[in-house]
């Protein structure tokens, strides 16, 4: 059964080290491993055993300094990759990562390998000895970048997928990683997260998912309209406080759709909880729903969640968190997010 990438809950990383990959010939790789050795010790020097890694499911998600976390420095990085790396390094520093040594401006990608089928962290990428022990079904790597800053405990600050065939990976781990670098370099637009998909399902572009969700939402809106008209016929025009505490059929439908990852349904439901009226206002629930939709890459949800943090509605007031979310909303094409402080 697939599990959302972010829902890694109680999974623990058992150890931590650093690894340096240079794409290219043997000589370059040797240099790379020397550097990785240096990085290993520099990393272990500042990360204490059991240091918390904040993300969805925190605080059960814990660092242990014997499981590798890889830092990949592609020697022949494109201008695009360099720009991405600069951005990512800034982001990591901003989010509280401590970088003891930066070898070049072409730094740093931090990622974990995750078996999307079992949601267990099996091995880091790439070239780890543990890879030879990976099960057959290991075909997809889910990568997540977490912040060490408690304010980012809502989930990974970056995550993505790379489909890796085991035999290809064994044949040439470095080549298997190259598409990842391209993926990250081209697609990174700030803190985002994506969800795992089933192997049987075709890989779908984000905009295609959005179109599907829009179609689902239109169907849902038609249902809501129908329910509302039925409701008007059958119910009293006023609600008692007792009836307000119950979830109305519309909310149930929206919740159902939201649970099925129709993000617009989450947003509509969040708005209803914010406004109150027909249902009891529940800002905390609204914030949770926005967070859910934001984690599903809906820009408006991120922006609105940021506004909740800015104002302190349903969540503790946190201007810094608000800025991060405005930026996330902007990068997910929400224009309002781009106009707000820190959004652009």
């Amino acid at each position: 059964m697939d599990k959302a990438v972010g829902d890694i809950g109680s999974v623990r990383l058992h150890c931590l080290s650093w690894h340096f990959i240079l794409l290219g010939g043997v000589k370059k790789r040797i240099i790379g491993f020397i550097v990785s050795f240096t990085l290993f010790f520099s990393a272990c020097a500042f990360l204490a055993p059991g240091a918390h890694l904040y993300g969805k499911g925190s605080p059960d998600f814990t660092f242990h300094p014997s499981q590798p976390i890889y830092i990949t420095l592609p020697e022949a990085a494109s201008a695009n990759d360099k720009a991405f790396h600069t951005l990512l390094v800034g982001e990591m520093k901003h989010l509280g990562f401590r970088i003891t040594r930066q070898l070049s401006h072409e730094a740093l990608v931090l990622f974990f390998a995750l078996n999307s089928n079992s949601a267990e962290i099996l091995a880091p990428l790439p070239g780890n000895a543990a890879i030879s022990r990976l099960p057959e079904q290991w075909h997809e790597v889910s990568l997540e970048l977490f912040s060490l800053n408690p304010i980012d405990a809502h989930g990974p600050v970056w995550s993505g997928h790379l489909k890796v065939k085991q035999k290809e990976f064994h044949a040439n781990p470095a080549n298997a990683v190259t598409p990842l670098l391209a993926l990250v370099g081209k697609n990174y637009k700030g803190p985002i997260s994506v969800q795992a998909y089933r192997e049987s399902q075709p890989r779908t572009a984000t905009d295609k998912i959005a179109q599907q969700q829009q179609a689902q939402m239109q169907t849902l809106e038609r249902r809501i309209a129908l329910l509302e008209s039925q409701k008007k016929k059958t119910e009293e025009t006023t609600f008692s406080s007792a009836s307000q505490t119950k979830q109305a059929p519309i909310e149930l439908k929206l919740q159902e759709a939201c649970n099925k990852r129709t993000l617009q349904a989450c947003i509509t439901l969040a708005e209803r909880y914010l406004k109150g009226g027909e249902i009891l206002a529940d800002p905390q629930r609204a914030a949770q729903l926005y967070e859910q939709a934001c984690a599903g890459l809906n820009g408006k949800a991120c922006t609105n969640l940021g506004l909740l943090y800015y104002q302190g509605i349903g969540v503790p007031k946190n201007p810094h968190r608000a800025k991060v979310l405005f930026r996330q909303g902007c990068r997910l094409n929400d224009k309002t997010g781009c106009t707000l402080p820190g959004g652009n």
Binding site: E271, L274, K275, L307, K323, K335, T339, P341
Partner: protein, 52 residues
Amino acid sequence: MQSSLKGKCSIAVGTLLGLPEEKESRRIVVEDQSSFSNCRWCSNDGGHTESI
């Protein structure tokens, strides 16, 4: 027309969230006032807008 201009102004958070504007709603600075019909120029804000 003012709506064609660009610059900083402020808008109530509640308005951005689609809520009825309330007195206690904080105002937030937006970079492009042309995006919002009810944006208030910061210079006329009377110091009510907080920066973050």
